[in-house]
């Protein structure tokens, strides 16, 4: 029971923290569904940060950590309540509606996805290989250990002791709250990440482009069934995908509506991506670079700075935790550790490695996610039929630019990997593509022309800022 209460507290903490930094009037507001959709992931990220600082760095008891979470919730509620008094209303979604039959199709897809997750989780409650050899193993270490040196020992290097702790620490704290190791609570936490991965882009596109494109966006993300399969396997790739899509979606929303609170939350989500998996560190760079490109058209330097500072602040707030963990506790990463400059330079000039990596990417683009028809073809046909929006620039392009940069980074890492290249590609590439899939789909629907006859937004963002 305690675990379920803590999970609900985490969701409430996520929602109220979002409201505290990105305020809205007290009544239910237009962007509250988006805040609520991001709340489970953001809440678990914040809880994980509190856990790391109090439990692992300052060796406090789990009850102190849970008390701090409750105190954090009270503070977030007070700040959200206070800031709501002076908050401007959220910019409402464009008028219009999606056809009922499209909602029914989405509902059917979402229901089948939910049932698939439940059946897969029930068949393998501890998750699949990486779950019990890395993520849930680390959670057990944190839950059972009286000290926090053994879990990061190089003696068990194969468990990747340098991997960040967001997922294991949340699971460990939930187990502490419940008083026992429960596979069910871990499964539900995993399910919440899957839900956020679909709901956040759907609701962001709804606010920015209208409900028709939003429903199609959600349905398209569901089509990559590896999302639910890997999610039920309790790998950290789905939580990472969730934070990536939350960061990208909130950043676009923040830039298009000039909401610095939403931009800060985007930075926080990007930081949590780095606290989930090492690939998230690369995403922080990709997102910041994409953001820089998207605001480079702004004539006024101060406006550019104002648009960038909240993002940077959000990222750095979490990177402080990641940095402490990496520098003070974790052994060096196996990929970094095994690379000396001379060997690395030999790999980087080996054309054959580029060739192998290129064909692996090309092949996985075609077979990605067990989608019935390769997504590349589906979206090419989609864009050919509906065409692009009249003005595609800046923030709308940001998700696709960030995804491209992230994939380019993955490509370089593969070329440089000290491990067997074929093995590395075969065992990880489909999961790495899944990291960016929801954000890529969101990007495509953000640049697509609206075909649902949606009326424009009642209030333009520029008018609001004046």
């Amino acid at each position: 029971m305690g675990a379920w209460i803590l999970l609900l507290l985490s969701i409430a903490l996520g929602f109220l923290s979002a409201r505290a930094v990105w305020p809205a009037p007290r009544a239910w507001s237009a962007a509250d569904p988006l805040r609520l959709a991001a709340a489970p992931a953001l809440g678990m990220g914040i809880v994980s940060g509190i856990y790391f600082v109090l439990r692992i760095v300052f060796i406090q008891s789990p009850s102190v950590v849970i008390g701090a979470v409750a105190a954090g919730l009270a503070i977030a509620a007070a700040v959200a309540w206070f800031r709501a008094r002076h908050a401007r209303p959220d910019i409402p979604a464009p008028c219009g509606s999606a056809p009922l039959w499209l909602w029914i199709l989405f509902g059917a897809g979402a229901l089948m996805t939910l049932l698939t997750y439940l059946m897969l989780h029930s068949a393998a409650p501890h998750g699949e290989w990486d779950a019990w050899s890395i993520w849930n193993l680390r959670a057990r270490f944190l839950f059972r250990a009286q000290e926090f040196v053994s879990p990061f020992s190089p003696a068990i290097e194969w468990t990747h002791p340098d991997y960040p702790l967001l997922v294991p620490s949340v699971i460990a704290l939930l187990w502490h709250a419940g008083g026992a190791e429960s596979t069910r609570i871990a499964g539900v936490a995993g399910l919440l990440f899957v839900v956020s991965t679909i709901a956040v882009p759907l609701l962001a596109v709804r606010l920015l482009r209208g409900p028709g494109l939003a429903v199609l966006c959600g349905l398209s993300i569901l089509s990559a069934t590896s999302l639910v399969r890997i999610g039920a396997s309790q790998y950290a790739d789905v939580p990472l995908a969730a934070f990536i899509v939350i960061a990208g979606s909130l950043l676009v929303y923040g830039l298009e509506t000039e909401s610095s609170g939403s931009v800060f939350l985007a930075g926080l989500a990007a930081g949590f991506a780095a606290w989930t998996k090492n690939e998230g560190l690369l995403f922080c760079i990709s997102l910041a670079a994409a953001h820089l490109l998207s605001v480079s058209g702004m004539p006024d330097f101060r406006r550019r700075l104002r648009a960038g500072l909240p993002l940077l602040a959000g990222i750095l707030a979490v990177l402080a935790i990641v940095g402490y963990f990496k520098l003070r506790m974790a052994p060096p990463n196996d990929l970094v550790n095994a690379s000396n400059r001379a060997v690395l330079s030999v790999r980087m000039v080996d054309f054959n490695r580029y060739w192998i990596t290129f064909w692996a990417f090309a092949g996985d683009f075609l077979t990605f996610g067990n989608v019935l028809v390769p997504p590349v073809i589906v979206f090419s046909v989609w864009l050919a039929l509906v065409r692009l929006r009249a003005a595609v620039a800046g923030a709308a392009l940001l998700p696709l630019v960030a995804v491209t940069l992230q994939l380019a980074g993955y490509f370089v890492v593969y070329v440089a990997t000290p491990n067997d290249l074929d093995w590395q590609l075969n065992t990880s590439l489909p999961r790495l593509l899944l990291h960016v899939w929801p954000l890529a789909v969101t990007g495509i629907f953000l640049i697509s022309r609206d075909i649902f006859d949606t009326a424009p937004k009642p209030a333009a963002p520029v008018a609001r800022s004046k």
């Binding site: 029930s122 193993l137 057990r140 270490f141 000290e147 349905l219 398209s220 589906v378 509906v386």
Partner: protein, 137 residues
């Protein structure tokens, strides 16, 4: 919505729904045949008694059937699952520790273990034993 746009919507929605549906029906077919207790839970249970005997921290060795080829995936999985089961004790895949967990699938006699320098401390059934390496003290 014009026919061109309707075609675009239908193509995306159909591909998505059929993809989701395909996995759903595959899982529906497989689910009733899945064992009532999954392999990890069952493996975990085998180590419950041993886990109760171990201290809160420390390092313990691990060995399996001598003829297991290096890189054998099942053997690697069982070693990882042993660590999963016994955390926070560190289980290293080497018998060069004072105490060693034996996870054997073929019958091993106490005599043959003693010949190799291992003293049987306790047998837990299902091929799991706790050994003391007499060469490491």
């Amino acid at each position: 919505m014009n026919p061109r746009a309707l075609g675009a919507v239908l193509s995306v929605a159909t591909v998505s729904l059929l993809s989701v549906g395909r996995l759903f029906f595959q899982v529906v077919d497989f689910y009733p045949t899945a064992p009532s207790i999954d392999g990890v839970t069952e493996f975990d249970g085998r180590f419950a008694a041993l886990r109760g005997m171990l201290p809160a921290k420390g390092i313990i060795g691990y060995m399996t059937d001598p003829e297991t080829p290096p890189g054998d995936t099942n053997a690697q999985a069982e070693y990882h699952l042993t660590q999963y089961s016994l955390a926070p004790i560190l289980v290293v895949n080497s018998p060069q520790q004072r105490y060693v967990i034996g996870n054997f699938h073929k019958a091993v006699t106490t005599g043959s273990l003693q010949d190799r320098g291992y003293k049987l401390m306790k047998e837990f059934g299902n091929g799991i034993v706790l050994l003391e390496n007499e060469k490491v003290r």
